[in-house]
Every structure is written in C-alpha cells, then in structure tokens.
C-alpha cells in the first residue's frame, strides 16, 4: 500500500516536472521562432518610407511592409566604433542582441544589420507605444506584478554589467532606453550604442544582488568560444577580452551570492 502511494507520488512528480519542462522548452522555442521570424522580416521587408528620429546619433524611423504586415523599424547608421574617442556605433546594438540570444534573456528587441539607401546600419523592430522607465517613475505607475518586474530588472542589471551599458544605475539615468510594452509590461532594453567599454571591472554603483536561476545557469553554461563566434564581427579584441573578464567576475559574484543567500 505504502509502496503504491510512493510510486504514485513519483509518477506524479515525474509527470509534473516533464510537463513543466516541456512548457518551458516550448516557450523558449516559441520565443526563438518569434525572434527568427522578426529577423527575417527586418531583413526582407520593403522600405515604404522613412523619417528622421531625434537623438545624438543618426537615426531613422522606417515604415516597413512585407506584404503581410506593416511595422516600424528603428534604423541607426552612425558607426563610431572604438578606437573613436567618443563611442556610438550601431554595431554594439547587434552585439548586445546576439549576447541576449545566447543567454536566452529576450530583453533586447530583434535587430539585424541592413543596408538602406546605400548606408549600412542596424534595423531594430520598434516597440510601439512603449512606456519609458523615466516616465513610469515620474508618474508613479506601479507595474501589475511588482515582484516579476523587480526580478526582471535584477536580471537586466546582470546583463548591463556584462555589456557595460548601464541604464538606471550608477551615474546614469537614461530613462528612454529602458521601456515597457504597455500591453503586457514586458521589459525591453534598447540602445547599446555605447556598450562594451573595455573595462575589466563591473559597473560602479550597479552592484549585482540577485540573478534568476535561469540566467545564472545560462551564464555559467555559456562558453567563451560561443561568445567569440557570435560577437567577433562586432567587437574588437580588447572589447572581447574585457567582456569575457566581466563574465568571469559576474559568475564569481553569483557564486558568492549563492553561498551567502542560497539558491
């Protein structure tokens, strides 16, 4: 009788974990498909029209149409990559997106390299009607699920330390680069055009205090050679080596946090 009960519990636990694992994998697979679809769209959609967008770089808002759907894209064409004395390059945005994909984070909207009117740049899917973090703070708008929101920001902080691109910590308050999709409060981080500073340290004032299990595992699993293979077109040797150093530092930091606080 007792054995039967134990067996039932084991079977239930197995089925539950299996179903959970399946749903998670499906969700990840679904996200990946969505990203792939968007990348294809950005590469192939027809340029219907364009207009200048504000900002320090040379950015355009592009009206795109692939015959099935019309969407907006954000085209950045300034390429002041290092060793330029002031960094501002569309290439770092693509590098951040590739890294986001390797970590399965889904915090960076899909972006591809594309040539428009003879000029190469990055074309990123435009998040329509987003709420900027600075405005959210000023207007005191509470997210519907504050815990989930806070946890995502903690993961974003890890990612920003990795890419050395702070949005809302340390000395920076760049409200317009952290945005929320108003429909589902999905957090998106845009504009990495000054990222990947060749710093061997993490960002002062942006201390990592928490990291989701999924991100920790993915970060620890992620091999340096995989990063090099994906990002070598966008980063120079120094930027790459400092990125890998920061990755190592973050992993060490997380291990200390786990030892202190538990998983």
């Amino acid at each position: 009788m007792k054995n039967k009960k134990t067996l039932a519990i084991i079977i239930f636990a197995f089925l539950f974990s299996w179903t959970w694992f399946q749903s998670q994998s499906q969700a990840v697979a679904k996200e990946n498909v969505k990203q792939k679809e968007l990348e294809n769209y950005l590469r192939a959609a027809k340029i219907v029209s364009k207009r200048r967008a504000g900002g320090r770089g040379e950015n355009w808002i592009i009206n795109l149409d692939d015959g099935k759907a019309a969407r907006h894209g954000f085209f950045k064409l300034l390429n002041q990559a290092r060793p330029a004395i002031i960094t501002d390059s569309y290439k770092y945005g693509i590098a951040a997106y590739e890294l986001d994909k390797l970590l399965d984070l889904n915090l960076v909207p899909s972006v591809v390299e594309r040539e428009i009117e003879g000029r190469k740049g990055s074309l990123q899917i435009f998040i329509e009607g987003a709420l900027e973090e600075s405005n959210r703070r000023i207007k005191n708008i509470e997210p519907p699920d504050p815990t989930r929101f806070k946890n995502t920001l903690e993961d974003l902080n890890v990612f920003e330390n990795l890419t050395y691109s702070p949005s809302f910590c340390g000395e920076r308050e760049l409200g317009d680069i952290l945005i929320m999709d108003k429909k589902d409060w999905k957090i998106w981080r845009v504009d990495f055009s000054e990222a990947f500073a060749p710093s061997p340290e993490l960002i002062p004032g942006c201390e990592i205090t928490r990291c989701s299990k999924k991100l920790c595992q993915n970060l620890m699993k992620l091999e340096d050679k995989a990063i090099k293979a994906k990002l070598k077109h966008y980063l120079n040797d120094e930027e790459m080596s400092m990125l890998l150093k920061r990755k190592k530092l973050i992993i060490e930091k997380i291990k200390i946090l786990i030892a202190k606080k538990g998983e």
Partner: protein
Amino acid sequence: MKNDAIRIRMRKTKTILILAVFIIASLAHLYAADTQCIWTGVEKIVAVGDLHGDYKAFTKILKGTGLIDGKLHWTGGKTHLVQIGDVLDRGDYAREILDLMMKLEKEAEEAGGKVHMLLGNHEEVNITGLIFNRREEEFTTRQFVSFLPDGYREKQVKKFRKKIGNNPTNKTGLASSLDSDLMPFWENMLKESRTDRKHPARIEYIKNFNKIYGKWLLKRNVVIKINDIILVHGGISEKFSKWELKKINNRLRIELEDLRRAAMYLSRPRIPEYQRQIVYEPNGPYWYRDFYTWDEEDFKENVDRILKNLEAEYMVIAHTQRVIETKEDMQLFQGRIWVIDTGISELYRKHMKGRLSALIIDKGKFDVWGLNNEK
C-alpha cells in the same frame, strides 16, 4: 664612472620633474581657472539661438538689436550678448562668426558689456573631430576648407593648379582657395577624409581648428546664469541641476580638453570613456531634449524642481528648432522655459519655416526681436 652614471640619471630625473611640473602647471591653468559663470545686476540680455554657419543672419540680428554698427563694432554698451551654442556645421561661415565673436568679446568688455559664447553639441563634434563621422550634409565643404591652416591650404591649391596647368588667381587668403574650379578638388578631399582617420587633411583640420578655435571655446562655458535666468544650449536635467554651475562647466572643460588632445594627436583619451560624466551624455547640458518632449501638465513639477535646484526662475534653451509666429510659441511650461532655436540659419529658413530672432530681456521683461520682420 659610477658617479657619472648617477649624475646622468639625476639630470634625467630633474629634466623629467621640470617637464612634469610644467605640464601640470599649464593644464592646471586651464582646469582650475574658474571661468566666471554667474552674473547678477545685469540690466539687458540679448540671447541668440543656433546659427549653423549663417554669418549674414547673425550680423543682421546684431545690427537689428543694436549691438553692432555698420562696421561691425560693438555698440551694445553694458548689454550681455549670449550666443547659446551651435555656431558650427550645416552652413558655410562658422569661422567668420567665431572671428566676429572673438572681436566683439574684447570690444564689449571695454564698454562694460559682455559677449558669452556657450558650447553646443556642434562645437563638441568639431573639437573632438567627430564631425568627419557625421552625415555629409552636416559638414559643408566651405567650412572644411575655411578651418584648414593657411599654409597647408595654399600648398594644396598650388599643387592642384600645377597639375591641371592652371594659372593662380589674384585673390589672396581664404578667398583664393575657394574659386569654383577648386571646389570638386576640396569635395573629394573631404570625402576621403571622412573614411580615413589618418588622412592628412583631416588631421590638419582637427589640429588647426583646435589650436585656435577649440582652445578659445574651451575657455567658455556650457551653462551660465545671469540674474535669475539659466542659459544653456540643450537644458539642465534633474541630475545636473543638483550640481553647481561651476562644477558642470569645469567638469565639461576637463573632459573636452582630454578629448581635444586625443583628437589632435590621434592618441587615447586619458579619462576612460566609462569615467566620463558629461561629454556626449544624452542628459548632458548640450544634448538634453526632455523639455521638448515632456507633457507640460505631467512634468510641471519636474521643471519647478530643476529651476529650484538651480536657484533660478527661468531657463533659456535651444538645440531643437521651433517654428514660431508669436512670442508665446517660444515658451514652454508657462514661460519658465524659453526656446530660442527658431531656425535662424538659411537652411532652416528655406526649408523648415525658420526665422531670424533674438530674445531680449530688458529689466526682467522678456521680448522677442524678429517677429515683425524687422530690418
């Protein structure tokens, strides 16, 4: 033998020490010199927005507001003239504007007045040499040629004329380099300079611009306060409103000087980019644009707080063109923010409904020159 070696080593150390002291002293002069940035008791202020190389428009405004006479001499007495930045790019005659500002600065000083040239984002991109990376239409060929050193420019012209077997003209100075037959030659040189970081013409432009104008600009401010009015190119964000004006100006000068040197000598900046606090910051004083995008009702308190932090009543900004018909069109947040970029330069007047203007603040009363098509 051993003593000789010690003596040589000591002499070397001494030379290095003297050199170090000399370098520190010369830099300290620039860094520590607290350029005045606050004035009180000023009766009349005339503020002019983005000029983008339109020398003619600028002189017309100065004459119209009674600050200069027909011979371009200061007649403004004790008035403070504030040009709020973005003299450079998009137009042809930035050099002429800067030369005039330098001259008027001295004349106004003698008359008890003041000429303030503030730094804008276009001054930044020229000091750092990044103008070569910007869109083609930002950087006109005429501006490029005008800031090349005379010797280099004349040598290039001679070489070109010899190659095509053409006789030199009777003109002298910059004018002799700007004959129409030379323009394709300069255009090509500018095109090559854009893609080649080490192109001699690009290096000559950056060095010469910085040796004369960059150095002068770096002794100017990015933000000033006259009476209870803050004047700044882009605006002051909440973060920077908590800084003293002196700190904003000094920090900017330090960072920009570091980049000026790096641009001139193709070297690495000494301040690592992740330690910069103000140059090229989107929320920095000459890139900031939030006042234009903020909803007036939602953000009124923010503007009030920023001005309170700055101990000021008003802020005068530019950086983003506004189409104006009336005095009210230049005001934001119930007249606490005044926008003076009205599209003064020809490019804007031709294509974007721009118009000449100047904001006149006389004994605390705000008025606008240029709304009635004054001559």
